[in-house]
Every structure is written in structure tokens, then in C-alpha cells.
Amino acid sequence: MTTSVVSYPTANRPRSGSSVFGALSDTWAMTRRNLIHISREPMQLSDVTIQPVMFTVLFVYLFGGAIALPGGGRYVDYLLAGILALNLVTSTMGTAVGLSTDLHEGMIDRFRTLAMWRSAVLVGRTAADLLTSCLCALIVGVVGLVVGWRAEASLPSIVGGFLLVLLFSYSLTWIAACVGLNSKSPESAASFGFIVLFPLAFVSNAMVPTQHMPGWLQAVADWNPVSAVCAAARSLWGDPNPAGSIRAWPMQHPIEASLIWSLVILAVAAPAAAHFFRRRMIE
């Protein structure tokens, strides 16, 4: 070790981190870090790779024959939007667990002593999760085509359907971020998935039409944002959408309802997550 380790006064002083460029490059660095994590432990991805395949096969071949759609149509065409929503909604658990893990390891202290845009920790995490969600959407689409799903709509309309579901799941990652920031351990953050995400995904029209549910449950399901998102995707894809005959407002206007839900959740959860993050940083 003979070469100079440090020079003083600082030769190449870091650029200002307060600029928009600095914030973006910090976010990108954090996003890449989270993507590297996934490449190291590919099983982390099982919820967006293996799970969609399993659910699709399970529902199409096992339950599909027993489910009759009000108004007719093939179950596989109905199911695909539900499979996509189910997988994306439950995968947001990864955001909560990942963030909680970061907070409980020493790494966060290192970040805090760097001249970085601190919110990059949050934005980079949700951005990486959005990218894996895109991968999930691709897998669901391909598996769907293999098992016989067909969309009767224009390409922009089909893409729009996917984007709508992705937007909704992105907004949910910010709720998951709030949970991760407030949980005592990565394990308790994981329980968020079972307590909140599974009922949210299943008490909806994702897998089965709500028409056969008991009245009170149907009311809950029809107002569940997941139902609006599934109905919106079905209508954009030209797939059977029995919810169109339900009088609840979100079922009559699923696209508008999905957008409103997503934007309202984002508008509330993102600033809340930033607030919780700042609060966690005060010592």
C-alpha cells in the first residue's frame, strides 16, 4: 500500500446531490442494487415467476370446469386478469420485507452517512419491484396464451389493460413500504402479506364472479379496488366481464375506478412512506 489513499484538500469533490440529476442517479443506483439482490437469490422471484404459472394451471384445469360465468364466456379468458392482479398484489409483500430487512441491517446507516438523496432508498426499492412486476405481467401473458387465453381487443387496449394493473400494484408497493417501515422485523413485515394482501386479492372478482357470493360479501368484493382493476382489464382486453351487470359504481366504471384508486393510494401512501422513513431516521 504505497500509492496515495486520500488526498486533501479533496481533489474530486462529489457533485451536489440535491439536483434532480443526483436524485435520479441515486435512485437508479439503488434500483440496480435491488435487482442484483434478486439475481443473487432467484427464489425471491418465485412469487412472480413460478406462482403465476402454478395459479394459472391450477385454476384453469382444476377449478375452471366447475365455474360458470354469468353471461357466458370461457373461464380461461375471464381468469387471466384475475391471475395477473392476484400475483401482482401478493408480490408487494416483497417490498415490505425488503425494506424492513434494509432497516434492520447496518446498511441503512452507511446510506445515511453518504451525501445521497435519502428517498432513493424508497424510490429505488419500489422501482425495482415495478420492474419485477413487469416481468410477472409478461410471464402471465405468455402462460395465458399457452393455456388458451385470447384477447379480443386492439393492441393499445391490451397494453392499456396491463399498464392499469401495473399502476395499481405500484401504488400498493407504497402501502407495503409504509408497512415495512413500521414493522419490527422482516418476519412481521411478511405477515402483512397473509393478513392484508391475501384477503384483498381473493375477496374480489379476481378468481370467481361476485354474483354467487352472499350479499354482504358481494358488496365488499364489488367495492374492493382489486375487483375494479380486474374488471377494467377484462373490459380493455375484450374478455368476458360479468361484473358489467353489477350496479355498484366501480363495476359500472371500472377503468375510472381503477385509476382513482391507484392515484389516491399513491397520493396518500407515498408521502406517508416518506414521512415514516424520515421518522425512522431520527435518533
Binding site: V5, Y8, I36, G106, T113, M116
Partner: protein, 358 residues
Amino acid sequence: MVAELMIEAEGLTKRYGETEALAGVDFSVEKGTILGLLGPNGAGKTTAVRILTTLAHPDSGRASVAGIDVLKHPAEVRRCIGVAAQDATLDPLLTGRQNLTLVGELSDLGRVASRARATELLEQFELTEAADRVLKGYSGGMRRRLDLAASLMTRPPVLFLDEPTTGLDPTSRQHVWDAIRELLVEGVTVLLTTQYLDEADALAHRIVVVDRGRVIADGTPIELKQASRSARLHVTLTAPHPRAVEAITPLVAGRVHVSDNGRRLSAGVDASSGLATAVVRALDAAGVLVDNIEVRQPSLDDVFFSLTGGHIEEDEPQGGADGSRQSDVAEEGVVETAPASAPRGQGDGRQQLEEARP
């Protein structure tokens, strides 16, 4: 010329619930020097570092780094500091190189510059071979070196090292020490916390001893040792002699302690030049044959224990201690290079101690 102060802490206090982590701590570090913040576990060392590195807010007091107020301009302070915290704060799933590059990019060095700097540091810390391995497979010493490298990515003028060698084997420890000494050549200012007296003695220009959230001593290693005035004379006679104690009593302070059936004598002394010669002459004049004589300067262990009120037993050193350290001349400033053991440890920590009381 007044030296520039790169780190200043004034009256820092901090409570965590019921625990008073800092109860008014003052110290400062001159540019281009190493300050050793020395104290047992829970003394408040880490809290002080967390405040100075913008991780924690003090309840009261003032702190500045590189002339910048830590409380008013934390973002500016972060541009001037490198931090290697006590627990390795690196990403276990990234490779060594990826970790360094990430730190560089987050510090807005830019991607190209970050990569170049990472390669440079990996080489300097002899981590090139392991550079592209995931951190999980690194040894403790390699992690610490990488942590140190990460803290140097932006070439910061001020460096904080929180217990950089805790838990390392002696070789890795020496490695980290060498790396820290290298920094001095470059004019970097370092605040180093440690539980190890020999580490503070080996590296620091000044030592601030903290205990229970307070500064209990502040000075150069030599000043601290002199202040304790606890030098000790050890004489081993060829055979017990009735006039030996009488002969050396005028030369020592206090009572002469006799052991090993009268063969070994020890006593506290005011270390002065020529003392060993005077003792040998006095014994010779009394017809006493001497096998071994040693004047031991207080080690920092002695100083530390006398300051913190550490528990010391009046005990002759273990048989091997004298035998293995035979010397016929009075040693100036003998400093133990202790194994990596906690100074408060009831076991090996005490083996280096030899009656620290004046």
C-alpha cells in the same frame, strides 16, 4: 500557528430513554492527526461518533466537522466524511466491487469515477482477488478492510472509524492499523474509537478516555502514562537476602513487596533516569546478587484502570511474565502489545496488568 480543528465536540449530551449515553462530552481533533476515543463498552463512544456523523441528534451541545456545524448543515458534513461503523455496513449480497461502486455512485462520484476508485482501493487493501466475490464469503478481516475502503471512496478529509479492529485476529488487525497509518501521510484527520489500549497507544496522537458518558482523561499517550505515575520496580535476586529490602527502601515509594520466599521484590517508584543503576548499586553495596531488574513504565492499561476505577488485584505477575520479559536495563515506556482482548475482561485482560496503583 494554531492548528486547524477538523472535529469539535462541545458539551454533547444524549439520552436514550433512561440511559445517559453522553453526559457532556468535549473534545477536538487537529487536522492531520488521529484521536483515539477510548473507553469500555457502553461508555458513549459510538454515540459520540453517531452524532458527529449526522446519524444522531444530541440533546444539547454543539459539534462541527471540517468547520461545518453538524446540526445545522448535516448534508454538507456528509460530503466531508468517511465512516466505517462498528457493524459492517455493507451489502452482503453484493460483491466487494459492487459495494464500493454503489457507495461511490450514491456519493455522486459518477459511474466511471466510482469504478476507477473502487479498483484502486481494492488493490490498496489487497482485496483484488476477492473483488468479484459476494461479501458473504469474506472473512471478518476482509470485511473490515472493505468497510474502510468504502469509507475512503470519496477521499474524505475526515474519517470516523468505530472500533475498526474489534473481533479481528492479530494479522488482520495489523493490516488495518497499517492502512490507518497510511492515511496520516495524506493529511487525513481520523477519529478512532477503540476498547483496546494498545490500539489507541499504537495509532493515536491524542487519547480521550470516556467512561459512563464523560471524558475522564485527555492527552497524549505519554502524558496519560506520566500522569498516573505508577511505574513499578521488579527485582529478582539470585537468593533471598536479609538486607535486600532495607537496601532498596530509600529508592522506592512506599512499601517493598516480597514474594517467592524473598527472591522477588517489587515496589512502586517515581520513574527517574538512572533508577535501575542506583538500585543495582545499592544492592551490590549490601552484598546482594541480582538476577534480573526491571522498571516498568505504566502501560495504558494501568492508566485506564486507574482512571475508570477498574478492578485490580494485588497480585504478582504470573510466573511466565517475568521470565519471558527478562531485561537488564530499565525500560522506557514499555507498552504491552496485548492480544485482542477487552480491557475489562476478567481473564486475559488482566494478565498484562501489574499492580497499577501508585
